[in-house]
Amino acid sequence: MTMIGVGYRAPLSAWIDTRPCDCLEITAEHFYDSGEDRLRELADQFALFVHGLGLSLGTPGPLDTSRLKKFARVVEIAQPAWISEHVSFTRTAEVDLGHLTPVRPTRAAAKIIADHGRELFDYCGKPLILENITSYLKIEGELSETDFLNEVCARADCGLLLDITNLFINSRNHDFDPLAWFRELDPARIRQLHIVGYGLHHGRYVDGHGEPVQEELIELAQAVVNETKVEAIILERDADFPGDAAMQDELTKLKRICGRA
């Protein structure tokens, strides 16, 4: 059975305590400096997944040891079925951009991310899955984006967290067929989906994480679920949180995708 859950955010805390879903995705950075007791409570009640934003797997050179230790501490408490990070960089030796930024799709970059992924797996002792990001930049490299993701996953021997919304947004902003793009991926790697509504700003599609899931996204997610063995779908709402009933409706949409509603 595919689990349905939400990304844990403090404003959703009271609703989450009513146990509306099967699982939760914890953002590791939210628990780096505080909140261990709350994390233990959540681990007692839900299946958890730990999601990282700032390990910057795409930055050449060693991983940041301090962040790695903090991430591993969250994993130790949460005891997730798997952990996840992004196919991107957020930081260089000179600057912390604080945002997921695309790498150039080359074999060398795939090796850097895969090596860091293996190091993360070894350090935390939990399976790793990696997520596709959204970007306005179209960066040329040796590989297509899908070949690049396949290469990273094969080298790291890890799974893929397919963000349906990121895929949809990129397909609209860069004018390609999202279904054809998805079918170029190794389907056996896809373990988890992210989904949340997209926004529109000055004619461009944006991932504001503050909109209800639109029908086009449901259709795309349905196609992915039909052709893969997705184990969990996480609603990734970060802003403009609606009331409890509306959040429940969002989860019902996702359950329907899996034939559970």
Binding site: G58, T92, V95, D96, L97, H99, R104, Y136
Partner: protein, 173 residues
């Protein structure tokens, strides 16, 4: 050699460099010691896409700063974002991301350009946060408490672990 992420990050953080890149990409990247493939990939970027991607980063910084300077940004209304863009486009703090340092530098520029908009209680807080002082004490006429303003003495205290806390005392004036 400069790796691709470092070169892209330089373009994304520096509005002046992006403007030069839009005018003449080859010259703008001329001093970057890049591998041929990385250079070609950067030269292939559309300047308008770079601006959009940089805008996402600026907006993320602004959201952090707006949380810290909540009342000041409310005072500024619709002008807050353009003022922040004007500042942040040409200034990016080095090293680790630090929203308090960013808010402090932005706030001080605001103070020069439109001092009345910068709530003194928030200015005291950002200046202390960005400093290394162990103790700070200030009096303000307008301290936001539960939807209204009261006179207050702000006391800031920093522990040896560099975490800091703020206390407020409300004198009966």
């Amino acid at each position: 050699m400069l790796d691709f992420p470092s070169a892209l990050a330089r373009l994304l953080r520096d509005g002046t460099l992006r403007e030069a890149f839009a005018l003449d990409p080859v010259t703008a990247l001329g001093n970057f010691p890049l591998e041929d493939g990385d250079r070609a990939a950067l030269l292939g970027l559309a300047p308008e896409d770079l601006e959009l991607q940089a805008g996402v980063l600026l907006h993320k910084r602004f959201e952090e700063v707006r949380r810290i300077l909540a009342f000041t940004c409310t005072n500024l209304g619709d002008a807050a974002w353009p003022l922040f863009q004007k500042y942040a486009r040409y200034y990016w703090p080095d090293g680790e991301s630090d929203a308090w340092a960013d808010a402090n530098v932005f706030g001080e520029r605001l103070f020069v350009e439109c001092g009345n908009a910068f709530l003194p209680a928030e200015r005291n807080r950002t200046r202390f946060a960005a400093s290394r002082r162990r103790l700070g004490i200030s009096f303000v006429w307008k301290f936001p408490v539960r939807g209204r303003f009261r006179p207050a003495i702000q006391i800031f205290w920093r522990s040896r672990s560099r975490h800091w806390r703020e206390f407020a005392i409300y004198p009966d004036l």
